[in-house]
Point group: D2
Chain length 334, copies 4
């Protein structure tokens, strides 16, 4: 069987998913929607699909799955619309910036029985999966302390910052999801610190550019997350999981595997700089997982609940910085 996709939203991330679908065995890109004709046309021309409206896609019997790549404030509505017509739904994170809206949306999903997969692409990175596999084999024993380092090469445009919901909901949310995935237990409390060290304009917009977070589970497992909006040496993405029997870690991806030894020392190239390049294998594996989900009827590998809980941790982090105290996740979820 071949899973037939429509892409909703032909911006940068939509184009990534269009490419991933087109290169995934068992998947085919049937259609694309974008409010801008030029954007939709560009995907159509590159991958040989057609262009339809959202309602046409919802009504199309030949579409099995939709990938929602539109702006965040449309996600929840689109999830509900396509859940109701029985499509498999892939949606970029976050579902919404409001926990209440997310919960309402997930209620609809649950009632319709639709399968919803959230785009936490990092869980599909081959190296991160190898780390998870090593943990699952018991190599580190009982998981005790997780350390996540994530630094962007540079801050996003201020216009993006303003609409992003803040660094915790936009950037750290990936790390919150990874933390839940790796800790093996739900997070119970959150404490965080936020600073403006990279660009005062980010502070003027009410956001931070440099944050640290400590998460803790009921049994006392902990995770620290370090984020910065700037890293001169590329896109810094590291994981480390410490347990009773050992520690497993993932190193970064450099531009190439060469080392130059000279009077200045031993130099390896900087890291891959762009998130699309860094995570392209993950985006492809993500689509392959979605295809497998549709074909086998399996549960989504990343669920709407995963989307909700990552958002709740972000809200808790915001509250922790604002109030200078440890915040329970229960306070957020109600």
């Amino acid at each position: 069987m071949t899973v037939s996709f429509a892409i909703l939203g032909a911006g940068r991330i939509g184009q990534v998913h269009a490419r991933a679908v087109s290169e995934t065995p068992g998947a085919t890109l049937a259609s694309v929607y974008d409010p801008l004709d030029a954007a939709a046309g560009s995907v159509r021309d590159a991958y040989g699909c057609d262009i339809r409206s959202i309602d046409e896609i919802a009504a199309s019997a030949d579409i099995d799955a939709v990938a929602i790549c539109t702006p965040t404030d449309t996600h929840a509505d689109l999830i509900e619309q396509f859940a109701r017509v029985g499509k498999a739904v892939f949606c970029e994170k976050p579902i919404d910036l409001s926990v209440a809206r997310v919960k309402a949306c997930l209620d609809v999903v649950e009632k319709t029985g639709a399968r919803l997969m959230i785009g936490f692409n990092r869980r599909f990175d081959p190296d991160f999966r190898a780390l998870k596999h090593s943990i699952d084999k018991g190599n580190v024993g009982k998981v005790e302390m997780v350390t996540i380092t994530s630094r962007d090469p540079g801050p996003p445009p201020m216009e993006y910052v303003r609409r992003s919901g803040g660094i915790f909901r936009d950037m750290t949310i990936h790390d919150f999801d990874l933390a839940r995935w790796l800790l093996g237990e739900e997070v119970q409390t959150v404490q965080a610190a936020g600073s403006v060290l990279v660009d005062p304009a980010i502070g003027a917009a009410g956001d931070y550019d440099s944050v640290n977070v400590i998460l803790k589970t009921a049994s006392g497992r902990q995770c620290t997350i370090t984020n910065s909006r700037r890293a001169s040496y590329g896109y810094d993405q590291r994981l480390e999981v410490h347990g009773s029997k050992g520690t497993v870690s993932v190193e970064n991806i450099h531009e190439s595997r060469i080392t130059l030894a000279s009077a200045q020392g031993y130099t390896r190239p900087p890291l891959l700089n762009f998130f699309l390049e860094r995570y392209m294998p993950a985006y492809k594996a993500e689509i392959a997982a979605l295809v497998e989900m549709v074909e086998t009827g399996a549960e989504p590998p990343t669920t709407g609940r995963d989307g909700l809980l990552a958002l709740a941790l972000a809200d808790a982090a915001v509250k922790s910085v604002e109030e200078g105290r440890v915040v329970s996740v229960g306070e957020i979820l109600g």
Copy 2:
């Protein structure tokens, strides 16, 4: 423009090139030939091309380029046949196991003015290209000493060994080509040592499984090549170029980027084990280079002469081991 390919020979390496052609922008796989119907049919089904005979392909106006992936003893005849009908020709190494036959074949190619590219895939490996780029930028100054380490995970089947022309013509030939590429000067003399350390059956077949070679150019630049038919830890492929200002090297590719620290120490996974997996990016870059050659009319990035000279170095290495002396390449080329 799109370059239309026919693949001649649908065995393992033919399938690799079929996949590479199908995934290369600007290339399309039009046709496949194989004496075995099942093999040809498998490529046709996987990539949606048709099946034609060799003569049909030679007569087809819709075929721009052929990739010769048939047994070695058919290479020279096929190169000549397709050169005469004006196709761009890609041929797997070696052109032939006889220097005389290769020279005769290249004479035909020259007379027809056909463009012939030889499949020295390693020159297209992204990490090796990064190393070459670093040298070309002058980072190591004047090149002085090249060190090439190449070890297979395990020996090939004995049937393959017997038809291979011996380790120098089958395995080291890649390193001879890399040495010429990296030394920046033609090799003048060859000395080599061969041993049977891995499998006595290889020795019984008149071949070696463990060899070392020293190459020297007119100005005294040197290259050492170390080969073994066995490496417990995967497919070991390393380059190091030492020069007046520094040394640049390429490290191996591990199965993943994780490290497990435990009471036993710090352990990274073994290397990628299979040459197709290890060099798939190189095979794809190779086809892209061929497409560019056809589109732009540029010179082949790896020429018939490259094929001839790598073979001559292999012949010189064989002679050096047999006679216990330094062999001049001129003795081989006549």
Copy 3:
């Protein structure tokens, strides 16, 4: 000139300093004191010094400096006694477990004009100094985020745990001092999380064995500290300093520089396991710094105030865990 030392306390750390003194050019070990004759005798026999009582040492004109290696609860009294007789005083951390007592002691030191150096040995580690030197040269630009990872190979005896003042005052105190050294600004607030994951007996004693801390300075620079009382792979000691222009880090010290590649992967040996072995070069450099201080009359490289502030950060961390909130250092220092 030669600086003549007396060692007070001939236990494990006293023996380390006796060895360091005996191997330091410009230093000589004149005398040792220990309430146990056997302990004092062992140092005398190994290094050829004599044995004197505390009061004799205080009255000895031939002693320039004392190294206080006795139990923590005697430190402050001894510092005061030797400050009053004008000896240079080296004291192992902590000065005392009470901030008030430390302040009183430092008042005496100040009044006497004595020079007091506190044993924060890590500042003298050659690799850590190389990192600090790189920061001071401006290689990372403005310091923004410091990450300190410190894990012991295994928990100390429970008897030690009970007298230690708790993990923050005993183990993290080193990292608090390093954080102050590396941040380049005083810490303003502390938040911390503590868990019992390694040994329930540690929890029963009212202590934690796994902690994370976030420190923040007035300008928003942050430091995270990760501690565990257990690491299967040895004594894990890492620093990373992230700034506006780059990041500098120090890797661990393995038992040797070999790597074994086999079917199981690429394995390096575990880390040096014992703190004395790991930091012996630091202990020696520390004594050399003390000698230089005495000879040149320079300020102590690690002062009593450094001892006070590291303890204050530890107290703030304890309070933060207990009260689930961010604690200001000012609350502790009063």
Copy 4:
């Protein structure tokens, strides 16, 4: 017991051994000899020994062992003189530049029953010993291929080059000894290539500055040695041993363990640059081994025969380059 040493020759290497003796438990430096009063006086002042003539040392009952650090052309005579008076003799390599003279000297040593240890310091390097220990434990299975890389930071003074006996007898001789130690079988044949790439003056003196060697044992085990008189990045000293079950290697020693990540990439410091600094732990372990030999009456860890055979491999390499052929070690040893 304490082993009492006299150092013969107070030049650079003599001072290294004086320091090593003075820091080795169980050893004491009693006396020093040098034809230059200033040189001898400098060792006397630094380590508190006395100055005696060679004959006085030979006649001194209080001297157990001598370390011969005089010019090469005096080594054989001094070995014979001190062997005859029953001293334990440590001699820097080489024993002599003539195989015949070495053999005659070793005959005297054998007749006197004296114990002679040759200064192949690299066998005592802690990392190299860890590699050897790994091989001896069977970690790599049967040894098949050894790879030795040794590059000096820069060429020695031309005056030294002229008296050195040539690169093979001066520099490669260390690698010949390591090769024998690691191969586990005696070398049977040698082939080598020599070039002048670093400094034409070296060529004018009849020597090479860039050489490669292939050694082969009776069973076919091979070793390649790569030497250069120049490495911009420091003193490059690497070993790799490949066997049936795996490969073990030793990495270089950098100036420190820091890495700076910046827009230019990830940079580690250059290597330790000076052989004395690089191998100081080996020099100390060498003296400790000599002390143990004297105390226990054990066989020397590096024998006169080791000195003879390393020299024979060097002579064979010279002959191989001159005659362009594989040279049997038997041709040299007669």
